[in-house]
């Protein structure tokens, strides 16, 4: 079975020369949820952006490749790349408020992509969006589609964006911290919804998050990232049963747990951070940007 998303040896840097991704390799198999977990600055969102072809212009990919459904994105023309990504991938963004244009009604914003990128007929797109709104348990699709974003609650907006992401039947969805801005009870509903739709549609998801709790509940496999470098990769149950890397263990010990308050919230030990710094220094020392296709 060939991977839905295959990122191989991906390195990126800033104009200052600073490396922000360090030879990252990861795959997402069809129909699986792959969590990408790390703290701020780990580069997890940047990987999502690279896959969707929306990296900021200051970030340069200097090495490695991204295959989406077998297509090598680095080898395609800009126009081709947009077409492939538009047809095969979609995004569930972090902030449901800024992801929607505040001055347009929700409905047209949802059908836009289907009509203008995928070339669907307007009535087909409309039917599809209504079907998906039903799948995310929105009972009054007409009212919601006629609403402006600010007239909907945070949870409702996120449902709309999930419906929009699944509407085009993408093979891969990049979910970039989709529940971080939400209340905990709403987060649970949204996670449940994403899991449900993902299973029904057989969509692969690259789930970017900082929360190990969310990782445990939603993903089958997980990649732990630190400073743009993969520090550990495992099946999710295996990671929680027996974390291999000291940083993974430290992250787990730092995560608050109401079931075991005294053993959680442990500050990350300095030796762990020193070890990580040493690992990165070694990796950077041996690294030479070679052979990769530089995409601006």
């Amino acid at each position: 079975m060939s991977a839905c998303l295959d990122i191989s040896n991906l390195s990126a840097r800033l104009p200052s020369g600073q490396r922000v991704l360090r030879s990252v390799s990861l795959t997402v198999q069809p129909g699986e949820v792959r969590a990408l977990v790390g703290e701020s600055g780990a580069g997890k969102s940047m990987i999502g952006k690279a896959v969707l072809g929306v990296l900021p212009p200051s970030v340069r990919i200097v090495e490695g490749s991204i295959h989406l459904e077998g297509a090598d994105l680095g080898q395609l023309s800009a126009k081709e790349r947009r077409r492939v990504i538009g047809a095969k991938a979609a995004l569930i963004p972090q902030d449901p408020l800024t992801a929607l244009n505040p001055s347009r009604r929700v409905g047209p914003q949802m059908t836009d992509r289907l009509i203008h990128i995928l070339g669907w007929a307007a009535d087909k797109a409309d039917r599809r969006v209504r079907q998906l709104l039903d799948e995310v348990h929105i009972r009054e699709p007409d009212r919601v589609m006629r609403s402006y974003p600010h007239e909907l609650s945070g949870g409702m907006r996120q449902r709309v964006l999930i419906a929009a992401a699944f509407a085009s039947e993408p093979r891969l969805i990049v979910a970039d911290e989709p529940t971080t801005a939400l209340d905990v009870t709403v987060q649970k509903q949204i996670l449940r919804l994403i899991a449900q739709l993902q299973q029904e549609h057989g969509t692969a998801i690259l789930f970017v998050t900082h929360d190990l709790g969310v990782v445990a509940k939603i993903s089958q496999r997980v990649t732990v990232l630190y400073a743009g470098k993969v520090v550990e990769e495992a099946d999710t149950p295996a990671l929680f049963a027996d974390p291999q890397h000291a940083y993974t263990r430290a992250l787990m010990a730092a995560t608050p747990k109401y079931t075991d308050p005294m053993a959680s919230l442990m500050p990350v030990d300095d030796t762990v951070l020193a070890g990580l710094a040493a690992e990165i220094a070694v990796a950077d020392h041996d690294w030479k940007p070679g052979g990769g296709t530089g995409r601006g």
């Binding site: 449940r192 709790g213 445990a216 308050p261």
Partner: protein, 271 residues
């Protein structure tokens, strides 16, 4: 000396609802807090938990009198501060401190960290040996002395929040309000800041109101917990008891919604 530092009864806060402001005339008032009764025991950390729109931050701001309640009574150390004017509040301020959610926005970008910490000290007549006092305040939160010369943009998120704590505690206040102080921080930094606050609260015998949306954090840090929803108190009591046997369905929902970092195939389906 009473056992409780704060005694609050029938607290109501109403604020103008700017989204419903008519073209002419003033905006209608919405009741954010709908009559709260509670106490904050001395030398103890009390958690205030709720989701967005619960009114927990408004409650905090009413306690330190950044907002004036519209009804009810707030007794601080036996004194009624509900409607005290700003000028009469000022002498009390050194005992009513606050740590803010966003350490970026709570530090003036154009002042050095040293100047930020020194200002309230000077105002309260502690201007002598000021650099030494500032150094002590920094040391207390685990920052080196030379940070006094830096500006906020030269600090990391965790360091900024340490400065926020140093500033709030520099005057050894009786009461500190901590409003979502770790919500913008990474997990590892969050753990450092919370253990720091836990240690200092213990050492200095502080009374703390700890506002958070995260029950896991509250469980670790707080002796008592107040659960809020839609401007009302849903449940309150000792934290141990609240977790062992939550009385209200909403409390149970809140606890059940926390995704623990452990494998549980049934979690998503349940509830």
């Amino acid at each position: 000396m009473a056992e409780n530092l704060f005694k609050v009864s029938g607290l109501k806060v109403a604020l103008p609802d700017m989204t419903k402001k008519p073209v002419i005339g003033s905006a209608p008032m919405v009741e954010i807090l709908k009559g709260l009764d509670f106490e904050l025991p001395r030398h103890s950390v009390t958690g205030i938990v709720g989701e967005s729109g619960s009114g927990k931050s408004t409650l905090g701001r009413a306690l330190v009198r950044l907002i004036e309640p519209s009804a009810g009574k707030v007794l601080f150390d036996g004194r009624d501060i509900t409607h005290l004017p700003e000028t009469e509040l000022r002498p009390l301020r050194r005992n009513l401190q606050m740590i803010f959610q966003d350490p970026m926005s709570s530090l003036n970008p154009r002042r050095t960290i040293g100047a930020i910490i020194a200002a309230p000290l000077k105002l309260n007549g502690l201007g002598d040996n000021i650099s030494q006092r500032v150094a002590e305040a920094l040391k207390r939160v685990g920052l080196p002395e030379n940070f006094a010369k830096r500006y906020r943009h030269e600090l990391s998120g965790g360091q900024r929040q340490r400065v926020g704590i140093a500033r709030a505690l520099a005057l050894s206040p009786n009461f500190v309000l901590a409003d979502e102080i770790v919500s913008g921080l990474d997990v590892s930094t969050q753990a450092q800041i919370l253990t720091l606050l836990e240690r200092l609260a213990d050492e200095m015998g502080l009374t703390v109101a700890f506002i958070s949306h995260d029950l896991s954090v509250i469980r670790r840090l707080c002796r008592q917990t107040i659960v809020m929803r839609h401007g009302e108190i849903v449940e309150q009591g000792p934290t141990d008891a609240l977790f062992a046997d939550p009385q209200h369905a909403y409390t149970r929902d809140l606890i059940a919604a926390i995704p623990l970092p452990e494998i549980d195939a049934n979690w998503l389906k349940a509830g």
